[in-house]
């Protein structure tokens, strides 16, 4: 049974993880959550990403969402933004592919070329 007490116990651990997160580079994963994305399965993709990060105990990556990017037919879309690297947009995502993105791109730094639909140089 989950209770608030249990959550309270996480507080210290949480503070530690936040400090760690502040010190590291701050990778961001963004899921498109427009109507088009949701209809194409963006929620399941988002839940798979969270689950995979949780399983791998990755605390220094932020998962967030955005609206429709105008690429509705390629939804669900997942963007991976790593500081100092081009923004990578993956298209036609599924929960399985999203998990692979975490393993390959987030953990090992290997972009999965066959899922990439856009690459954008970011100005830093």
């Amino acid at each position: 049974m989950k209770s608030l007490d249990e959550l309270r116990k996480l507080r210290e651990k949480a503070q530690e993880a936040i400090r760690l997160r502040e010190q590291t580079d701050g990778t961001k994963i963004v899921v498109g959550m427009g109507t088009c994305g949701i209809a194409a399965g963006a929620r399941e993709v988002m839940l798979a990403l969270m689950d995979e990060l949780e399983k791998k105990n990755i605390a220094d990556v932020v998962v967030t969402q955005t609206g429709c990017a105008g690429l509705c037919e390629k939804e669900p879309l997942v963007e991976v933004i790593r500081p100092g690297e081009p923004k990578i947009t993956y298209g036609y995502m599924t929960p399985e592919k999203a998990r692979m993105v975490v393993t390959s791109h987030i953990v090992n730094g290997q972009i999965i070329g066959e899922y990439v639909i856009a690459r954008e140089e970011t100005v830093s």
Partner: protein
């Protein structure tokens, strides 16, 4: 465009996905507090979903337009389908959608359904919808209140933030706690074990 609309409509097979979609409208309206309330009353054969936000609200003329499947305030997409789709879903299931909005104050959307109607979409994965919203929008406060006949369950992210802080919401251990907590809430609502602690 109609073809696109029907295609998307076909894929929105859970009311929980419509809720996720409508919450996006509240986020775009700059809301800092979003309340999602689901009331299921089997005696009265009713299911109502209410989404209330404190976002920028809408003027009267925009209110009419957003219920029309051919309008959106966004420019990157030509059809804004969230509200019209839910309206259709409600009307197909013996219900209706009402929209109240005041500029500067916020918006309230209420979708009512006949609970037992054969065309009433299943509620679907509400735990997944709420978890998605909480984790990907840590700055926004969310209240999710759900009543099924005599049982009520509620989660308020302000209480959680008081415990672990806003920045902790995306941490693996907190996601894990939230996921289990939400899933247990759903079990409780539909007749599972009674939780020993309820928010609110």
């Amino acid at each position: 465009m109609i073809a696109v609309g029907y295609n998307i409509g076909d894929k929105m097979r859970e009311l929980a996905l419509h809720v996720l979609d409508l919450v996006q409208n509240s986020l775009r309206a700059g809301a800092s507090l979003i309340e999602v309330e689901i009331l299921e009353n089997t005696d009265l054969d009713q299911l109502t979903i209410t989404i209330r936000d404190n976002g920028c609200g809408m003027e009267e003329n925009l209110k009419e337009k957003v219920l029309d499947p051919f309008t959106t305030t966004r420019t990157t997409r030509k059809v804004g389908l969230g509200l019209p789709l839910l309206k259709m879903a409600a009307e197909r299931a013996g219900g209706r959608l009402t929209l109240n909005s005041e500029p500067g104050k916020g918006t309230v959307v209420e979708a009512a359904f006949q609970h037992s109607h054969i065309d009433r979409m299943p509620l679907g994965d509400m735990a997944g919808t709420i978890l998605t919203v909480i984790i990907s929008n840590p700055r926004v406060d969310l209240v999710y209140r759900h009543r099924v006949d005599g049982r009520q369950w509620e989660i308020d992210t302000r209480v959680i933030k008081d415990e672990v802080g806003e920045d902790a919401l995306g941490l693996p251990a907190v996601i894990n706690w939230l996921r289990s907590y939400l899933e247990e809430g759903q079990k409780y609502l539909y007749g599972g074990a009674i939780t020993d602690e309820v928010f609110g």
